[in-house]
Amino acid sequence: MARVPSDVILACLDDIRAGRRTLDECVAQHPEAAAELRELAGVAMAIRIDDAPAMDEAARLRGRAQLLATITSNGHRPAENRAVLARALAWRPRWLAALGAGLSALAAGGAVAYAAQGAPPDSPLYPIRQAVEVVAQAVRPAPPSQAPASATVPVLSPSSPPAAAPSSAASPPGSAPPERRQTGEASPSVRPAEDRGRGDDGDRDGGREDRALPSPSASSRGEAERGNPEAKARDDDRGDTRGATNGRGDADGRGTVRSPTPSPKTPANREGRRGRD
């Protein structure tokens, strides 16, 4: 028996449902589909939306009020708004997108660099920390005490060797191993490891500055410690307030450049001395 096309069957069922034709009329017109029409007519007639319960008025009003309250509150906007925004952004020039991408990359890099600030040596961020320190060292401007200091310290010793003066001036002989004095690292017994995480940056910077750019004041400090009475007198004139400044300066790694001979009476000076060592 040939299979009856779906459209023939469905057209008959639609007519039966709508009352335009009876089942017998359909069977008479399509005798080849008689069996299937009889089977499916009952099924098609049984599906009536009238059987579904209607929404009562109270439920409709309640639902309307809830819907309005929801869609007028924040967080629910029709998609068209987003589509309009997307179209508007699509017309922006490409450089805006490039700028946005660049700023995003910069922010991400800054976040990584910030996170790497206190990274210990075994941390995956430690190489980043080192790289940041190198870059910071390269771009950091000279401490204000270096260039103008020559004006404030008129007497210089032209014969003092540039590399030797800071190291000899930075610490008394024999107070720390030479390699530690060169790098400017603090003694482990002085600072906890956490402090070295940030404080070392400053101290190491200060040590490098001392080594690479010997300042006139450091030279004069060396003279003072070697017993130059003029230099010692100048340092003494500046007094303990310089010592306090010196202690703070060590914390940021710049105090060693301009620090005078610390006064043993001032705790801040002692701290500054330790940091410098």
């Binding site: 459209d7 499916l40 029709p78 987003r82």
Partner: protein, 183 residues
């Protein structure tokens, strides 16, 4: 404002709702809430029907920018959203026995015995429909419950008209099988 909006055609209300006019969308709700409610009630029963109707309109509001007026009647689009919500509802509940606890309509003027028989038949049909696979359920509901024409159903489902007819034809055979099993 609302009174004036009620006289607007669907197209204008939809355009206004796209611009963020919630009152225009509320008028669309007034027009179609009952049809959506009955569609959902037929498939999941009364207890959760109100909540699912709300979800349907909320989704419609969020997606109304994607509705294309020329493609399909608004009610067909709404019913497709309702269908998807019903499918998600069943998926979440992981059961397909939704109509057993449904409350049948009571016509006090009818013969109680005939009314009982009718209610039992309705319950069986709805349960059989709920056992169809979602694709069949959707086509049966759109054609026989919502009485959309084949062209609209095809556009809404992204299928050809003939494919929709074949799907409906198969769905009716499947439905008959479920009804025979239930008897």
């Amino acid at each position: 404002m609302a009174t004036a909006l009620e006289t607007w055609p669907d197209v204008d209300l939809i355009e206004s709702a796209r611009g963020g006019n919630a009152l225009a969308f509320a008028v669309l709700y007034d027009r179609y809430a009952d049809r959506v409610y009955r569609h959902i009630a037929y498939r999941v029963g009364v207890p959760d029907c109100e909540d699912l109707t709300q979800q349907t309109f909320l989704k419609a509001w969020q997606a109304i920018g994607r509705y294309r007026v020329m493609d399909v009647p608004f009610v067909a689009w709404l019913l497709t959203i309702a269908h998807n919500i019903v499918v998600s509802y069943y998926r979440a509940r992981r059961e397909h026995q939704p109509l057993v606890d449904d409350v049948p309509k009571i016509d006090e003027r009818a013969d109680p015995h005939r009314q009982a028989e009718r209610n039992e038949r309705q319950r069986m049909v709805r349960q059989a429909i709920s056992r169809l696979k979602p694709e069949f359920q959707q086509v049966v509901a759109m054609r026989y419950l919502e009485e959309l024409d084949y062209a609209d159903i095809a556009r809404q489902l992204g299928k050809r008209e003939n494919t929709v007819r074949v799907t409906l034809h198969r769905a009716l055979h499947e439905l008959r099988k479920h009804l025979l099993e239930a008897v």
